[in-house]
Symmetry: C2
């Protein structure tokens, strides 16, 4: 383990270690407007949702580590107190990165990077028409966390109106993550495309699960099961009873899977692991206990 | 486009649409301690870093949408004003989900879910020894954004000490995202494993790029190039000159790739697109302009 006080690392290295471990970070593609009506568009990965009632978003145009300068977005948010947070799908990632260019004042950023500025309904800055979701926001509060390079400026926003592209919905009016196809920021030059790493996990039901403590030692100490496998076993509310295991042993299900080989315990472990990854946790429990009993 | 005021959606549907579009969200696996010394561990995806100097993290144990209840983490953070934010790698995701169980008071959550409680150096709550990164924090401020179900509670933290597992470092003391192997939360039951969707993009250099505006119409309007391809062309500071294109046409590079086919413009477009995706943007520019000239 390498341990550091923040002051023990250079600003650059500290920034790098933090951004390499805290992620993937969702991206706010923020449009703002200055007092002369000039529009700015820039991406921020110090961003997330923090509540849905009121809908609260925070993003942070931090002071630059290299020269302690601040961004147009921060100045505009402070002056006009409105913004639009647009969401970035994979097909827009190149334009999003291009929008991190600090173009000289007066450049129309939407034209410059080939996007359509769609007028907002309730705020002055326009939306990115191409974005899969667009959130019109009022700036509630700005908190400056420090005055040196790297200091965060927390722009706390309340969403006034939400817009979703028609094609991200399923037929039953849900939003499909494969269709939204978001990208997120990681450390260095790395980004990630969320849909390529998708998987599902069910939350535990109630609070009576057996936990790791309730798993017999011979299973916990096995070299076969991963911690994720054991977590599925641990979500169970109670081990199968002796009767259930006995019933399972004489079932066609068990016999059909064990008749062709002299049941080796290791094979049974592999089989029960396979059942866990298929979501058949009750069968996995019965299988491993039946196999142990049979040996 | 479907557009809504927040009040036009049910609390449940609003929550669902927001969480399906704002993501992937990094996960803070937060350990806290109450006044009796009982440790709590729970995951929060309303979380991110917001500045690196001071190191500022925010997470939000929001009021539950279903019954407006609050979590132990919120109470503990308010009372003791310290926490540890642990980072979740893929091999810990099952235990992280298990830790969202609200076990009765007095249950030792670390034993219950098979984790090792490592004493912290500067704060009272222990760290998760197995986590790839662990941030000891002091709670600077808590902002309650509302009193109804879904309301966020912004726990604004300053990191006092950072711990990184030895095996996430490369030989030259950088942190390798493949080794950290973070997971993140999306809508519904969805999670994503960041390393499966990794890709890199270089930021534009300076602010003199030609932008989409500087790309000739016949290229912008081509059906071959994606917006991401065009973004790479747009990052360029200036189109190749007539002389550079003429030189390229007589180069072995160009001749070697065009000698076996009568140069069709569409094939040239496909070839230049291939060059773009390989990061050879100058060659792509020369190729497309040379091919056009040659036709």
């Amino acid at each position: 383990m390498r341990s550091y006080l923040p002051s023990e690392l250079s600003a650059h290295q500290r920034h790098d270690y933090l951004l390499s471990t805290i992620g993937p970070r969702p991206i706010a593609w923020v449009s703002t407007i200055n007092e002369d009506g000039i529009v700015n568009l820039a991406p921020f990965s110090f961003f997330n949702i923090f509540g849905s009632n009121p809908v609260t978003l925070i993003f942070s145009p931090a002071r630059r580590v290299k020269d302690n300068s601040t961004k147009h977005t921060l100045q505009n948010s402070g002056n006009i107190k409105e913004c639009v947070v647009n969401i970035v799908s994979y097909d827009l990632v190149g334009q999003m990165v291009l929008s991190s260019t600090e173009y000289p004042d007066g450049v129309d950023e939407f034209s410059k990077i080939g996007l359509t500025a769609e007028p907002s309904d309730l705020v002055k800055p326009p939306r990115v028409k191409e974005a899969p979701a667009q959130y019109e926001c009022v700036v509630k509060q700005i908190i400056h966390t420090g005055e040196e390079g790297g200091a965060g400026n927390l722009i706390i926003c309340e969403v006034l109106k939400m817009h979703f592209r028609e094609d991200i919905f399923t037929e039953d009016d849900k939003i499909d993550p494969l269709k939204v196809d978001t990208v997120a920021r990681m450390g260095g030059l790395w980004y990630t495309r969320a849909k390529e790493g998708l998987f599902q996990i069910h939350n535990p039901k109630g609070h009576n699960n057996i936990g790791f403590e309730g798993i017999p030692e011979f299973i916990r100490n096995s070299e076969i099961y991963t911690a994720n496998n054991l977590s599925e076993l641990a979500k169970y509310e109670a081990l199968p009873t002796v009767e259930e295991v006995n019933e399972f042993i004489v079932s066609d299900y068990f016999k059909g899977r064990t008749q062709h080989w002299h049941l080796k315990y290791k094979i049974a472990e592999n089989w029960s692991q396979h059942l866990i990854t298929e979501g058949k946790v009750k069968e996995a429990w019965c299988f491993i206990l039946a196999a142990m009993k049979d040996n």
